[in-house]
């Protein structure tokens, strides 16, 4: 296959950045998208040029490292598929492909296609934990959990934090990510102790990080390689409303 690539090149956070054109000949349709970039990078390195920087780790669709806009769609044209699991057979000979980094104030570009997603880490830090009894290991299955709740929590927990939802959202909102993190602990008994603090803390951090608001377009849900549902955002909204109205003043006694 012969392809023409337009790749976002940006030397560092303060560089303005620009799209550069690369011709990719001899692309096999069996290559993954990242392998195709590897081949380009090898050529660039041999030519003494700076290779294209992109994030990758597991290359099996579970770590959430890789992520880039491919022709204006996060992770490219295939639904429920990360960029590393996208194969070149999804493209045709002679195609032009635009590759850009995620764009959001909260995701500043570090270099080329690599963005700083530590905002996600800070959202998790502000509520993604549960209190447990330390000491001897608890009995397995000691806490009964209804099957539907366990399933819904697990579905939320499949979020790999890749950032595609933010990239797809016209408001650069991270509500799908945040709601998945809120739901995955909030749906199980172990997560009840911090349930209301968690949703308040995570939404506050979400806003402080500079992510936008959710206007219910649903682009995030389509972009999500793990198929996280918009329903979790409804649940986050419900939990936040409840949490705020339930909040007790600091130091309140039992009648407060």
């Amino acid at each position: 296959m012969r392809l023409t690539l337009h790749v976002w090149r940006q030397q560092g956070p303060n560089d303005q950045g620009r799209l550069e054109r690369y011709e990719a000949n001899d692309v096999s349709e069996h290559m993954s998208f990242l392998e195709m970039l590897d081949v380009i990078n090898e050529r660039l390195t041999e030519d003494g040029e700076e290779p294209i920087a992109f994030e990758h780790d597991c290359r099996e669709g579970i770590c959430g490292s890789c992520g880039m806009m491919i022709n204006g769609v996060p992770h490219g044209p295939k639904t429920m598929t990360t960029a590393c699991q996208l194969h070149m057979r999804s493209f045709k000979d002679g195609d032009e492909i635009w590759i850009e980094p995620w764009r959001a104030t909260a995701f500043p570009v570090i270099k080329d296609l690599v963005v700083d997603r530590s905002g996600f880490d800070r959202i998790i830090q502000s509520g993604g934990y549960v209190s447990v009894r330390t000491g001897s290991a608890p009995d397995g299955n000691a806490i009964p959990i209804p099957k539907e709740d366990a399933d819904a929590a697990f579905d939320a927990a499949t979020c790999i934090g890749c950032g595609a939802c933010v990239a797809a959202c016209p408001n650069a909102s991270a509500m799908l990510f945040t709601s998945a993190k809120v739901a995955h602990l909030g749906l199980v008994p172990q997560g009840q102790t911090e349930r209301w603090d968690r949703v308040r803390g995570m939404v506050e951090t979400h806003d402080d990080e500079g992510f936008g608001n959710c206007t219910n377009h649903g682009a995030c849900q389509e972009a999500c390689p793990k198929g996280i549902s918009l329903d979790y955002i409804a649940q986050l909204n419900r939990d936040l409303i409840k949490a705020t109205l339930k909040a007790k003043p600091v130091g309140a006694g039992k009648d407060a």
């Binding site: 408001n171 909102s173 206007t215 649940q235 419900r238 705020t244």
Partner: protein, 229 residues
């Protein structure tokens, strides 16, 4: 009160205000549409059904409340709802712009519905329309032959002009799209979500928008066609 203020500080809280004020406006729009259907009823004892209804709106609650009391309360509530709706919209739009200052060079096929993409500008069209509409049928400055209190007559005179009909057609189309995305967003924002009923939310929004569209446009169409005079 502090709790409400805490909620408002978050983006979700601003959206809740958006949704709650939106529901007030929804209900008004629906009631207004039902009221307009009075144009379809025949006159009795020499009084047009619409004029009787308009008079009734001024008298609701009398003598407990003064003449026009409920009408003025409704107007104040609506004004507050419109103000809240616009204020939240401006704040949220500003936050969104700040969150994504530069777009993508190649933007493609992210499935945004026409209704959801046009909420902001559609809202501006609706605001301009509401101002025009008040000058047209409430105060009469924008009406060529306005007679205070003669609602039926004002209505018929206006919609015999195809130009006026076109203005209202455009406004109703904008309203229809706005309601479609608004009604669905309302459920989502207030967290009214349940696996058993979630699949009904989009159809409900579509049905609601469609009913309002048809309900509002049926009487003017009949006026234009010469059926109502």
């Amino acid at each position: 009160m502090r709790r409400v203020a805490t909620l408002y500080r978050t983006t979700v809280g601003k959206k809740v205000l958006m949704a709650v004020s939106g529901v007030v406006l929804f209900s008004f729009v629906f009631a207004h549409m039902l009221g307009n259907l009075k144009m379809l009823f025949p006159a009795s004892d020499g009084h047009f059904a619409m004029d009787v209804y308009a008079e009734y709106l001024r008298e609701i609650g009398y003598p407990l409340l003064p003449h026009g009391g409920v009408l003025w309360i409704a107007r104040l509530v609506l004004l507050a709802a419109v103000g809240t709706h616009i204020w939240s919209a401006l704040q949220l739009a500003q936050l969104s712009r700040a969150a994504r200052p530069s777009g993508y060079q190649k933007e493609d096929s992210l499935s945004l519905s026409y209704a959801s993409r046009t909420m902001r500008w559609g809202g501006v069209i609706l605001l301009l329309f509401v101002i025009y509409h008040l000058l047209h049928f409430t105060t009469g400055q924008a009406h060529s032959s306005f007679v205070a209190g003669a609602v039926h007559q004002n209505y018929v005179n206006a919609f015999q002009d195809p130009g006026i009909f076109l203005v209202y057609l455009i406004a109703q189309t904008a309203l229809c799209f706005h309601l479609y995305h608004g009604a669905w967003s309302f459920f989502q924002t207030l967290g009214l979500s349940h696996p058993k009923y979630n699949h009904l939310r989009r159809p409900f929004a579509a049905g609601f928008a469609f009913v309002v569209f048809v309900g509002f446009l049926m009487p003017p169409t009949l006026v234009l066609a010469g059926v109502i005079s």
